[in-house]
């Protein structure tokens, strides 16, 4: 090989690096303002922590705030796909926003990795080969809560959730595993901050327990008003109603409440211990389940990049399906519809020093997959 051909080979290699080895561009659309900001900020921080720990410089992340508005999310997705030319989209917290963005993004040949929203419509008939959910299908945690409520001997539950896709999935999931009767069932407005009317109905309903799904600021408002109302029925809920952000704002009113989660900071594995310690060191607060989902999403992405190039969609997809990464949840694998198969735990709210947090007290459902996988034809 003479000198000329060496240069030629080097420049061909350089060109191909520009074309393929340039790395990967991620578009993150998440909620960073308003009453739902805590969730998006946690997902973002968990995600970015994993990226920085990987030490890779070939991942470029563009982050934008969707303000929990579907129209804003759609505009951001269009901008990211058309002008930013991202390869992978992620970040959406709310299922109504996911429904507005995900089908069109995957139809345009982009990968979408969901760190949170898992609407039933995207798990069953609407599933897509480029859509992966790293958190859970929406129903999952509520199914475990329903199973727990039955086991705990509750026979007459009052249930409420916001009126949007995840709220409907929540009540459907709870009812699927709850064997008792329902004293009442209410859908509230998404983003509602005053629950006086709902609490009055709970008081009058004669229920023996209350199941509620109210993530973010909604949960804080509800719990504070519930504590002040004098109604003292036991509460059951998914982890979203008792996450790290909500507990600090609500305080003593939540102590002792049981809730269901796929993750907690005391799950015993090396990846989780390292995650909890490094998250606290980096951000000065305890991670929430949202942060753990963001962290897992980034690690899944990095694991796929290690074995395949994103431009080779088939190989990259296979690498994602393998889920060959150390999840902070311990066991983690994808079902046929690209939704997690995982254990769901029962947690109790406790106080550690001055900090309110959760402790695992048992396992709700083991190796649990979602109810929609059978409808998914990829």
């Amino acid at each position: 090989m003479n000198f000329k051909s060496l240069i030629l080979a080097a420049s061909v290699a350089a060109v191909s690096t520009v074309a393929h080895g340039e790395g990967l561009k991620v578009g993150m659309i998440t909620t960073l303002s308003g009453g739902g900001a805590g969730l998006g900020i946690d997902v973002r921080d968990g995600f970015m922590l994993a990226i920085s720990q990987s030490g890779r410089s070939d991942i470029d992340v563009v982050i934008e705030d969707d303000q929990r508005k579907p129209d804003v999310a759609v505009q951001l997705a269009d901008k990211m796909i058309q002008s930013e030319k991202v390869d992978v989209l992620t970040g959406i917290i709310w299922s109504n926003l996911a429904m507005a963005v995900v089908p069109s993004a995957t139809a345009q040949g982009k990968f979408y990795l969901s760190p949170n929203a898992g609407p039933s419509a995207l798990a069953g008939k609407g599933c897509h080969q480029n859509y992966f959910n790293v958190a859970w299908q929406n129903d999952n945690l509520h199914e475990a809560a329903g199973a727990y409520a039955s086991d705990a001997g509750f026979a007459n539950a009052f249930i409420l959730a916001p009126n949007y896709p995840a709220g409907k999935d929540a009540l459907t999931g709870f009812k699927r595993f709850f064997k008792g009767d329902l004293a009442g069932e209410i859908y509230t407005k998404l983003g509602q901050t005053d629950y006086a009317a709902e609490i009055a109905q709970i008081r009058a309903s004669g229920a023996d327990s209350v199941f509620f799904f109210l993530p973010g600021g909604m949960g804080i408002s509800f719990l504070k008003q519930y504590a002040d109302s004098g109604v003292d029925l036991p509460l059951v809920g998914p982890a979203f109603s008792f996450d790290q952000g909500i507990l600090q704002a609500v305080g003593d009113a939540a102590l002792g409440v049981k809730n269901t989660s796929q993750w907690n900071k005391d799950i015993d594995n090396a990846a989780n211990a390292a995650f909890v310690a490094s998250f606290q060191a980096e951000y000065g607060r305890l991670p929430s389940l949202y942060a753990s989902q963001g962290f897992d999403t980034a690690n899944l992405l990095i694991s796929a990049m290690n074995t395949a190039d994103v431009d080779d969609q088939g190989a990259f997809r296979a690498a994602l399906e393998a889920a060959n990464f150390d999840s902070v949840r311990g066991n983690f694998s994808f079902g046929v519809n690209h939704h997690p198969v995982q254990d769901i735990y029962v947690r109790e709210v406790i106080k550690e020093g001055d900090v309110y947090t959760n402790k695992i007290i048992g396992t709700g459902l083991t190796n649990h997959a979602d109810a929609y996988a059978a409808d998914c034809k990829m």
């Binding site: 308003g34 407005k189 005053d194 002040d228 109302s229 004098g230």
Partner: protein, 306 residues
Amino acid sequence: MTTLLFIEQVLNGLQSGVMLFLMAAGLTLVFGVMGLINLAHGSVYMIGAFAAAAVAGATGSFLLALAASLAAAAAAGALIEIVVIRRLYDRDHLDQVLATFALILIFSEGTRWAFGSFPLYLNIPEYLSGPVTLPGGIQYPLYRLTIIAAGLSVAAGLFLLISRTRLGIQIRAGESDREMIAALGVDISRLYTIVFALGAALAGLAGALVGAIQSVQVGMGEPVLILAFVVIVIGGIGSIKGALIGSILVGLTDTLGGLFLPRFFGLFLDPASATSVGSALASMLIYILMAGVLIVKPSGLFGATT
């Protein structure tokens, strides 16, 4: 369906109604006296709530927090009037809407910059927390009862102010003929600043009172602003009495609609679709009420017929 539940819901409706009144009173005064559409009214509601949360966080005193909310909102109102609004009286309503909409964006981003995106939580003071038992065995949160009483006493104070004081006479006169009272020697621009600051202070107070049961966050004023506009359209623009009646009507319709409509649909639909149809329709109910009032009385319940 028990009487107790019904009475509790009426109290809830009343409570949200009187808080809406504090917001709508300022809006209707400003619109009636100055002929100005002020979208930034929701921002002073937010400023009041943030001032209260900041002062409560620093001092731990709820009363000081309320005083801070009044002072901060009144100061913000006076500042907005002197710096921006004063230049807009002679412009048409579109210019006013654009300018005050810009103020919303400025105040929202400014607050986000100063306090961050996370909601703040203002705690109900110890002596007002917990439920009380009313005659008839109804348990109701003491704090909500207190804000019903506070709202009604502010309403009474406002009636006295408008009907019995010199300032009130000037406000009413300014409403009907501003050139004439300027000609009579009343300092009209000072009057406008006072009215604007008064309206802003009431909105700020509402923000602080409501902030304690809900949450204090950027953008909390805009949903309330929309309801307040509905209220003044129903009550009649410029009428304080209309604002009070309209607020309570809207509060009760909203609360009782959310209670009765799902039950009504439950009579002939299955429970799941009854709840979703019922709650969807319940959230539209106040707008249906507004449309109904406008059909019967186009200038609102207590509006001046022109």
